[in-house]
Amino acid sequence: MNVNTAEGDEGPLLNQGEEGIELEVVEGANKPALEESEGERGEELFERRKSPRDAQRDDDGNDDAMEEGEVEYQMDAVAGADTTGWARVKSNLNWLAARIVPPGTVGSSIFELLGATLGAGCLSLPSAIKDAGILGGTCYKSYRFTFTQLIFVRIGIFDFGDVGGILFFAFVGGG
């Protein structure tokens, strides 16, 4: 049987035999769907090798459930269990990507938020600095802070509802 390691040190290779692999059944939300689609083979595949990190989790008594990235990674293993070529390449790439940016961590969240923030807009920033001047452009960067400070601190309002009450008095209450 070929099984992907979610966190194991041996990497994502799918060529290891069944012998010598210590397995545990993982209670995950996706398990029923998998069983429906794959039957007993799916149940068998929806297992993972115990890693030192898993053991540590058990000792700590928390985070027993498989994490999101691991579930996805193992689903890839199911898809690629009886095939080679592209499925294996994809599985290996997923493993590598999950190692570089582990899903669910602060680091991966920063990258995701950076992805949503950074874009083609930065190409226009030099032009904006040209129009506003170096000091003007820098001042704009602190504009929102000044604005929110004025509202939230000076006036003593700390809730969006209250801010809405002032800024959009006529509309509030429609909900």
Binding site: T105, S109, F111, G115, C122, A128, I134, L135, S142, G164
Partner: protein, 278 residues
């Protein structure tokens, strides 16, 4: 940066208090349905504008490359067929139809998850190259001039003085561009949902780290891009660099790829608002 951090922190804090984890729903809850409608309309226009800007980047960046690959020259080909094939309008239409449209209809876009990393690396490379080119010009002006001679693109303007503060109407034109740079509020809830153990402190780490990186990158690209070209700075800084500058054009290609892969992610909010998905 501080403003963006503070406003994002407030959003997350209010969402925790109200137990609502969607930007649109939160607005409707605290400000009413009518303001919620205004917000959805704003997001719709915002996303639409973003996608139009992305398409313009594609149209600005790709034609010279495609001319170079297909015809071995960066100038406009003489034959009608070739000029149409490498025209801005054709290339933009082609990419929308063949690349962006299928990507925007993916049932599962998890495969695009790592494009964020690719986008970050692309933009970091581009920012570093812009900074490097600017420093090269500052410390050896002759090198900078020679690197950008022979074309209207890439003209340095060493004689222009540096504008520290512009008090004219242009000041207001630059406001939306700079303020837009920190706009990631709509996405914070979706990203927080995927964060393991999403406490307020950990969320603040995400927000603070993101804004600090964005601030540094924007400061570098804005200041050094402007200092190199000054009054001749184009609305798209990439247009200032000659097409013969391989390093810059590589960065341009990378950011174009990022933009193409980013469009499906941007379309998600449009789908949600229009009720096309989820």
């Amino acid at each position: 940066m501080l403003a963006a951090f503070y406003s994002l922190h407030l959003l997350v804090e209010v969402s925790e208090k109200k137990r609502i984890y969607s930007y649109e729903e939160l607005t409707q809850k605290v400000m009413g349905k009518k303001v919620g409608f205004i917000l959805e309309l704003s997001i719709l226009l915002f996303t639409y504008g973003t996608i139009v800007a992305y398409m313009m980047v594609i149209g600005d960046t790709l034609p010279p490359f495609i001319r170079l690959i297909l015809f071995g020259t960066q100038d406009t080909p003489t034959s009608t067929f070739a000029s149409v094939l490498t025209s801005r309008a054709f290339i933009m239409t082609f990419f929308v139809t063949i690349v962006v449209f299928p990507l925007s209809m993916l049932r599962n876009i998890s495969s695009l998850r790592y494009t964020s990393l690719l986008g970050f690396l692309s933009i970091t490379y581009l920012v570093l190259m812009i900074t490097l080119r600017s420093l090269q010009r500052i410390y050896s002006p002759s090198d900078g001039d020679s690197a950008s001679s022979g074309t209207t693109r890439g003209e340095d303007s060493g004689a222009d003085h540096v504008v520290w503060l512009e008090m004219g109407s242009n000041l207001f034109l630059s406001a939306p561009i700079i303020l837009y740079g920190f706009s990631n509020h709509v996405n914070i809830f979706a990203i927080r949902r995927e964060l393991r153990n999403p406490t307020l402190a950990r969320t603040d780490q995400v927000i603070g780290g993101t804004n600090a990186i964005v601030f540094v990158l924007f400061l570098l690209v804005g200041m050094f891009g402007y200092l190199q070209f000054r009054e001749k700075t184009d609305g798209n800084i990439l247009n200032n660099y000659p097409t013969s500058d391989i390093a810059m054009q590589t960065g341009a290609l990378a950011i174009t790829l990022t933009v193409v892969l980013n469009i499906p992610l941007r379309l998600l909010s449009l789908h949600r608002i229009l009720g096309l998905k989820g």
